[in-house]
């Protein structure tokens, strides 16, 4: 399969690889997996409690190149965004940016799911009714 240049770039120089302390009350963790291929992805966000802005994001993905690129891009995109803005990121945006072929769409879905799961986790730590 021919990966696009952007996928290769993220794959070779993934942005924001790593972990944030899971127990930190300001950190939300999303852990998702795609059963069709067995890839797993962890995406974490650190949220400023006052402004509701995502200050930092990290990911770690055990999976295909597209999944790594999608999650790397996702961490870049969510940084500096509010939770609401982060939730508005759609997998189709990722597909477009990385020019993913149809068979790799589920990899981008995984990244969208990971953002949602991380936000949900953060909200759970802060009581559901908070700003989004």
């Amino acid at each position: 399969m021919a990966y696009s240049d952007k996928v290769i770039d993220h794959y070779n120089n993934p942005r924001n690889v790593g972990s944030l302390p899971k127990e930190d009350p300001n950190v939300g963790t999303g852990l998702v997996g795609a059963p069709e291929c067995g890839d797993v992805m962890k995406l974490q966000i650190k949220v400023n409690e006052e402004s509701g802005v995502i200050e930092d994001a990290k990911f770690k993905t055990f999976g295909c190149g597209s999944a790594i690129a999608s999650s790397s891009l996702a961490t870049e995109w969510v940084k500096g965004k509010t939770l609401g803005e982060a939730l508005a990121i759609k997998n189709t945006d990722i597909v477009k940016e990385l020019s993913l072929p149809p068979v790799k769409i589920h990899c981008s879905v995984l990244a969208e799911d990971a953002i949602k799961a991380a936000v949900t986790d953060w909200k759970k730590k802060h009581g559901d009714g908070l700003t989004s």
């Binding site: 998702v32 997996g33 059963p35 069709e36 770690k60 055990f62």
Partner: protein, 176 residues
Amino acid sequence: MDYFEVFGLPRQLGIDTLALEKTFHELSRKYHPDYFTTASPSEKTQAVRMTALLNDAYRTLRHPVRRVEYLLSLYGFKPDSSKVPQALLMEVFEINERLEEVKGGTASVEEADSLRALIKEKRKRFDAELQQASLEWDELVKSGQPEAKLNEQLARLTEILSESSYIRNLERDLGG
């Protein structure tokens, strides 16, 4: 015609693979192009189509995991990423992290061995669970249970199957 029908089998998961192989060879002979040299073009195409279908059916049904996957697809069931249990993901993620260290050469020999044993154990448990649930499915079908019961079991099989690709990846990454 679905794959079970190709072999004249009921939609059950307990399949005698030796018998399956035998039927496969018999049917392959029956549809072999050599027998159709004097047949009409439409009969020839039909025979070619049957041969292709037969090959797909055989490859799918002889494999215990693919067999279950196929059965589920007949009923519209499919492993769903939103239903993978969080505990499983956590475990898989952790094993992957340990595996990374083993591959990177920073882990001890004992760690590598214990990881290998752990993955082996997971495979064993998975195979046993799948086999058990497959047997249960066959029992339900044979005793003519209502659809609700069957669906319950299909959901159970789907849940078990969602673990399959994770284990396969871990085995692959471990290098067999």
